[in-house]
Symmetry: C2
Subunit: 523 residues, 2 copies
């Protein structure tokens, strides 16, 4: 599998031609700026050699990624579950080949409802270790090998499960390249490069690759809790490469995520859908009541109108304000990302604060009402409104639920409607904020500087990765988010891509991170 026949293989794969490879290397790999390691231990770190090896193994690393993304491991598509399992096996084989030990394919049992096939087995969590030296720190690498759905007819420029290199734009396009197959493959490549050099890894590694992240990480919380003092015992830091840079130019390290409490408002009235000609003006219409409750939740400037919610939010400090001012981000980038000029704020700090550290309330839709094109004269008898609140420090989830439900009940009561209304939580996931000055973040910042020549921006994200908090609380250790891709990679969208430079500089950053973290004072 790991032979020297890359050019022939690449030709066969139609990925790049022989002329292209040196050009790729020229434009992509040569951007690395090696900083001189600045402490005793790090002077030993063979960064120059290591980075050159990563560049040299480029064709192999692209081939591995190409083979990985060719497996349509869509966890949301039950019919593709065998492909998800196959992709787990693909990574297990690589782990074996690379000399990982104690490799386990941990089964999680039958997938709970709602499922079409009640006997559908969850894909395995792949666990493995590399090294058990008690003198070394241990880093847990989390990633996921499943991907979002993708189909050519959605608007992809090429088959989504076939890696294509756009030579002009110097990027790779395929479902999963940035989310999260590229980063997972990247970590394995880092080990590969060390082995090719005969270089010892500076830390012990534990890997935890799951196959259900795009479908809610079903079963993983329990596995982490169960293994906290077993398989994961002794882990010093957790590194998750499953997010993206804020923009397209500046590397970032991510130290915070918003949580998400998702609610539904169920308004019920007539026994069946009614004809608006016969019943309009005579019966109380659930959809009318629902829009009244909806309208009471938030204003058009995004301000949450539910009493007590904003009061739970941690105040902004002067020091914190400075953080946002330093971030490399502009209103233009925001507008480019939303494809519009609908931004509610005109300056960087407000945009970032409202994305990262203030709560937001979004109205997602309405179940049970007429939702097609055209004109149907129906009075829906039962409507279910969906909305969610992104949560931030110091909001208490249970208190929030109570405030939300009380508010909706109060507004509905005030309507004097004979219909019934109940508001309920569908699911929640807590926010996460870490200390960006701990040893792990410091090591990653040094690695970023060594590879990219710039200090990373320290960012938070508006979205949620609930497993982050699970690792932190169960393993009682620091978690860091070290992204590989860019903000415009189109994860979850069409034409998902990963710039070649992000793949290779990302691997170098990962490698350097392990060395800097190993050399850090804390253990």
């Amino acid at each position: 599998m790991f032979t020297g026949r890359q050019p022939a293989i690449l030709r066969k794969l139609g990925l790049v031609n022989l002329q292209l490879l040196p050009r790729l290397q020229l434009r992509t790999y040569a951007t690395s700026k090696l900083a001189v390691p600045n402490n005793q231990k790090m002077t030993e770190a063979p960064f120059k050699t290591l980075f050159e090896k990563i560049d040299q193994l480029g064709p192999r690393f692209i081939e591995h990624l190409s083979n990985a993304v060719a497996i349509p491991a869509v966890s949301a598509d039950e019919s593709l579950r065998p492909m998800v399992v196959k992709k787990a096996g693909f990574f297990r084989d690589q782990l074996e080949h690379l000399g990982f030990q104690d490799i386990q394919m941990r089964e999680l049992g039958v997938q709970p409802p709602p499922v079409e096939n009640p006997k559908l087995e969850l894909p395995p969590v792949v666990l493995a270790r590399y090294g058990t030296d008690p003198a070394k720190k241990t880093v847990l690498l989390y990633g996921h090998y499943d991907v979002q759905p993708a189909a050519l007819e959605d608007g992809w420029l090429s088959e989504p499960f076939k890696l294509v290199i756009d030579e002009e734009k110097q990027l790779m396009r395929a479902r999963g390249v940035t989310d999260d197959t590229g980063p997972v493959q990247g970590w394995l490549n880092v080990v590969d490069a060390h082995r090719e050099l005969g270089l010892e890894l500076p830390v012990n590694l534990v890997v935890c690759f799951e196959g259900m992240e795009e479908s809610g990480s079903i079963g993983l919380d329990k596995l982490i809790a169960d293994e906290a003092d077993k398989y994961f015992k002794g882990v010093d830091a957790v590194c998750i490469s499953d997010n993206y840079w804020l923009g397209t130019k500046k590397p970032v390290l991510t130290y915070g995520l918003r949580g998400c409490n998702y609610y539904q408002i169920v308004v019920e009235g007539p026994g069946a859908d009614l004809h608006s000609g016969i019943f309009g003006g005579v019966v109380a219409e659930p959809a009318i009541d629902l829009v009244k409750v909806f309208a009471s939740l938030v204003d058009s400037q995004g301000r949450i109108l539910i009493d007590g919610v904003n009061e739970m939010v941690a105040p902004v400090t002067e020091k914190e304000k400075e953080l946002y001012e330093k971030i490399d981000f502009t209103l233009d980038e925001m507008n480019a990302a939303s494809g519009s000029e609908t931004c509610l704020y005109d300056n960087k700090s407000d945009i970032l604060m409202h994305r990262w550290r203030f709560p937001s309330l979004s109205i997602h839709g309405l179940e049970g009402a007429f939702s097609s094109q055209g004109a149907k004269t129906v009075i829906p008898s039962r409507v279910v409104g969906k909305f969610s609140i992104r949560t931030v420090p110091d909001m208490d989830s249970a208190t929030l639920d109570k405030l939300v439900i009380d508010h909706c009940n109060k507004v509905f009561q005030s309507l004097g409607s004979p219909n019934t209304c109940r508001t309920e939580l569908i699911h929640d996931g807590a926010y996460w904020v870490s200390n960006p000055f701990n040893a792990s973040f410091t090591a990653a910042a040094k690695a970023t500087k060594a590879v990219h020549g710039v200090e990373p921006d320290f960012t938070r994200e508006g979205g949620s990765i609930p497993i982050t908090l699970t690792f932190e609380t169960q393993l009682k250790t620091d978690v860091m988010l070290l992204p590989m891709g860019r903000g415009d990679d189109g994860a979850h969208s069409i034409n998902e891509k990963l710039d070649l430079s992000n793949y290779f500089l990302g691997m170098k950053t990962m490698a350097a991170y392990l060395h800097y973290y190993a050399a850090s004072e804390t253990k």
Copy 2:
């Protein structure tokens, strides 16, 4: 086709057994109470003989209806279009057999989009006349031979396109029995009974049976306009039997319908659907703006909140109030119809006025938002809200449109949202109110009294039959709605039925109406 072998046929059809027929006649036909015609001409009217003949021909009339409803003439199902055409032929054959003249199968051309088959021909409008005596009045009978979709698996107790007689409940069940195949067949049976008696019809008849009523009467408006001074020249009154009694016991004549103006509010913002984690709180959400506009339209008591709309409604007079008080209807019937206790009024008059003579505003739904089960964290980039207003005298449709659009624009402007919003009319259909004391209604009231022994209630309906107004305006004549079925017949629903008594007493009322109308003073 019209032989005396009914018992054998009925046995073959499995409709009724030989013992049942006399019982049907006993329980159903004998309820007719013959009033003595009260003017010179009417003393000649052979009601007793005529009604006895209708009873006597009962098995034949049931057989005809059974054969008619066996043809699945669903106009909304393109694959069943040949069946719609076949049913047109079924009625043409009967018209020929009964001696109608100038029978025309008027083709309306290709059905306009949206259609799956761009060459789909519309079903023909069947035109025919019976008599051209200039000394007689001419009555146009409108009906439709197409039906709503129906499938056993929707919850029908028996195959929807096979007429079944429920002996216990003394009713016929099949798609179309009440809407509108039963009434159409009823009119032909009235002619048949006259012919069997060798009795001259007291009026000239023009029939106009269409096959697209359940799909918007496509093409019929133009045909009526084109033929107003040609085929339909000289028509004195139009009689439409395509609605129902208000309740289940009291016959009604219908003199009013509400109109319907259907609108959509289009709110657009981001260039594509966005992730609420990343963009929530930062971009202006179209769904938030839309629910604000929606919430401003109407309150939970059904009061329209758009300035100027209620001011256009004709005031309620004391005399009019008395009309509602006399109608046979209860809150319990209302609640039974809605399957709930969500009625906004607790007394008959308010219910009827808000159903018939006040406008109403219904919110139908939302296109473009999340409408499935579950929890999706999407910010919809474009939402289209659907609502309609049922219109009544003296609302002006164009003025209403302006008030509605101005209102929505004003409310949206007040939100200060960077999104865009436009409100537009999708379609409208005018209300219709006739004079329930004109010659046609008076004749039908006398006929009802003669057959049922009670004065009919004069009702309006909340829904719309736009073709009613077309006949009135194009033919410059009176239109009357003379229903055959009851309010609980389940037209458009499962287990559509027509009580045997309504079929037979309905035919007698139709027959008596023609005689009373012929005898009326006006021409």
